[in-house]
């Protein structure tokens, strides 16, 4: 997937000198088009999610059933309602059910609700959760998500940044010493990246938490959370180690192999040979003639890592009991809490869209082909 999505590597065309105002204008237009098309994509994506999240009315049926059951039980248990006749009691139940369904908007046709959902979702007005609540007690989906976002960003930000820079530098090092024993070892180990992070997470838990007992089994901080900020930070770091390492292991070898191969392909181009013949230092060649043309590919790769991260988080967080967005969506699905499910999905889609947009934007900055308006990255 990762490699297939990359543009076919080719020598970079040097940009012809053009009036800078013209190129800025082109850049603006390019960005505007990208923004609009992304917005349309997000809208359709969110609407599809709303349709799927409803599963053809199935979720509504579940909810209605649950509402009826809760109300029937609560009236059955209520001593003040003991004296009601069967009919009166049924009437009361029906009234309360209707009221509750009206409160949740279940009495309107789904098509109407779906568009209302869409409008609200796009404006990030995510509504109230049906069952879940944030740790601070709020029922607002936005608050629930905002509470879970920082842990996910912390875990995934740390992991992906570390992975990106570590693989990049090691790949540069290997491309300099290509054919060495270390190089061959990394190539041989690259198939290990077929396994996802959670898989290595289980091994790491087994080894470091269960057998050796050095690190905690999961969670984000010790319970109860330490009082002083320093101890809190240390506890956080201790809990971060295993999930981050799991993420690193699963991405490391394939990442290094991929980058290294790119660097090698580009360092075989004629202009690099020429630069070498001119007597430039290898550091300079690397920076100007190898890194520069591979930059778009590196950025694509990084963006793909970030996109993969939003998907990968769900299971990694579940395995490590990390209180982030991924675990939230898992819990929400278990509770049939569709506002939360749709809310997380909307946030997910927005985060993805932002990632894709940033990718396009950075592309436009680093890839001269975009600035001269000859098609852009998807050639």
């Amino acid at each position: 997937m990762t490699e297939a999505a990359l543009p076919v590597p080719s020598g970079v065309e040097t940009s012809k000198t053009q009036p800078s105002r013209n190129s800025t204008l082109k850049l603006m237009r390019y960005i505007a088009i990208k923004l609009i098309s992304l917005f349309v994509a997000v809208t359709i994506g969110v609407y599809l999610t709303i349709l799927i999240a409803n599963m053809g009315g199935y979720v509504d049926e579940i909810l209605k059933g649950q509402i009826r059951e809760t109300i029937s039980v609560s009236i059955g248990m209520d001593p003040t309602k003991k004296n009601l006749t069967m009919e009166e009691r049924n009437q009361l139940i029906n009234d309360l059910v209707a009221l509750e369904e009206h409160r949740l908007g279940l009495d309107q046709p789904f098509l109407v609700r779906s568009f209302r959902f869409l409008g609200r979702a796009l404006t990030l007005n995510l509504g109230r959760a049906q069952r879940m609540a944030s740790d601070s007690g709020s029922k607002l989906v936005r608050n629930i998500i905002l509470e879970r976002l920082p842990p996910t960003l912390l875990l995934m930000g740390t992991s992906s940044m570390l992975l990106f820079f570590v693989t990049l530098f090691i790949a540069l090092f290997l491309s300099r010493n290509y054919g060495s024993l270390l190089d061959k070892l990394v190539i041989a180990l690259s198939p290990t990246s077929a396994a996802p992070a959670w898989f290595y997470g289980i091994f790491l838990l087994l080894l470091f938490a269960a057998v050796l007992g050095w690190l905690p089994f999961g969670g984000m901080v010790d319970a109860p959370p330490p009082e002083s900020p320093i101890n809190y930070g240390l506890s956080l770091a201790r809990h971060l180690i295993l999930p981050v390492i799991a993420w690193l292991i699963s991405g490391f070898f394939a990442g290094v192999y991929g980058y290294r191969t790119f660097f090698l392909i580009f360092s075989m181009e004629d202009y690099v040979e020429l630069a070498r013949a001119k007597g430039l230092t290898s550091r300079e060649i690397e920076r100007r003639y190898v890194l520069r043309p591979t930059l778009p590919n590196i950025i694509t790769n990084f963006a793909l890592t970030v996109i993969g991260l939003w998907n990968g988080a769900t299971i990694l967080e579940t395995v490590f009991n990390w209180p982030g967005i991924g675990r939230l969506i898992y819990q929400a699905v278990g509770l049939y809490d569709s506002p939360v499910i749709i809310g997380t999905t909307v946030i997910n889609a927005y985060l993805l869209a932002v990632t894709v947009f940033l990718l396009d934007f950075i592309y436009a900055l680093v890839d001269p082909r975009v600035r001269v308006g000859s098609g852009g990255p998807r050639s």
Binding site: G45, S190, A194, A195, I307, T314, V356
Partner: protein, 449 residues
Amino acid sequence: MNALKRNLKELGKYPSAIGGGIIILFLVFLAVYAIVTIPYNEAIRLWRGGEEIWGDNPRIVPPAWTNIFRKVKQPETIVRDSRDPADVTSKTVTEISEDMWDVVMTFDFDYDYDAFPQELNVFMNATFVEKGPFVSMFWITPDGREIRLGEVTAKRSETYRFVQDERLLRRLKGVEPQIALFADPDKETPTVLKGKYQLKIAAVTFEAGSDLEAKFVAYGTVHGMAGTDHRRRDLTIALLWGTPIALSFGLLAALGTSVITMAIAAIGVWFGGVIDELIQRITQINILLPTLPILIMVGTFQSRSIWVILGWIILLNLFGGAIIGFRAVFLQIKEAPYIEAARSYGASSWRIIFRYLVPRIIPVLIPNLVNGIPAFVFLEASLALLGLGDPVLPTWGKLIDDARSNGALYNAQYYWVMEPAVLLMLAGLGFAMMGFALDRIFNPRLREV
């Protein structure tokens, strides 16, 4: 076609292809073996079975071969059934009076292990019309002590659990029977007294034709090839059957997504214009769809059957990111002179697409496909880990999920996690190694470095 053959021959030069090939062959062999020895329905029946199938197995014990690495040899399960003549040492029926008979049976067994069994049970089946036989049991140790166990009036089906007999527990001074009955009385710390033990079951029946059958089970602390889980099930079945499921799921998902995606890319490139634009837009939307959350929703709301999930995976990947890569290759091929030639002799668009464009992309398709398999194998396991595994089929992911949710990691029952994990890893590695070699063969650019 010849080029394809030559390329495949080239595979032999790559150690990773040979390694991957061996692993894949091994897994295929395992899958075929599983399907042949345990039919599909039988596997499901066994895996969903309860005590009636698995009653003679111990609960959560590691595989028997772990004894090789142990200093303290753990016992295996010992079963003695009166219905099996080979198991019974002696069975006598003597008439005491007109309406009373004495049925005495003895079970002998050697106990040569260093550890105590997990649990001791006697399962009885009595045949009678009105009054069930009265059963008393005795335990005879290798050093000749006779210990009285419990007495029960047998119902048609009766289970005597040693641990639950309060009076026996008092007689054994509070030491659990599975330890006290096997311990050497002269040792301070409980040590197993090795040798020949005997269980004597004496029943008094009160009707002509009334009889008693008994089965004694000393549950071991190791079991079989793969050990057992919390429901006493033999893990071998799930490990074996997990193989064909994982392989077929991975292969079908990879095949479905890559072939259809490729066809869509080919159509888009060939017809160009609006169709191409539309396909590109749909791809862009598709990339924004959160695949895993949608699969979680499908699993929770619709069906957890892996075949339904498989359908959704293919559906969600139809316009996946792979289209971009295929498109780039097709754009190059489209300009080739032989396509021009085909067009000039009047070949139809569909003929050109499926006879000339698609075959040329097979070198890109094959590594893509093989590399895609591990991802889907692990995806199935991921879903199982979230509690959305197939409700009836035994899969590797479900084993890991069972182990995790029953605290196998906390309780040091590592075999339970490791066995399915190692198989998953093998499947992932096998295909990844093969795909790695294929990638290099079909992409000459990679071969230089």
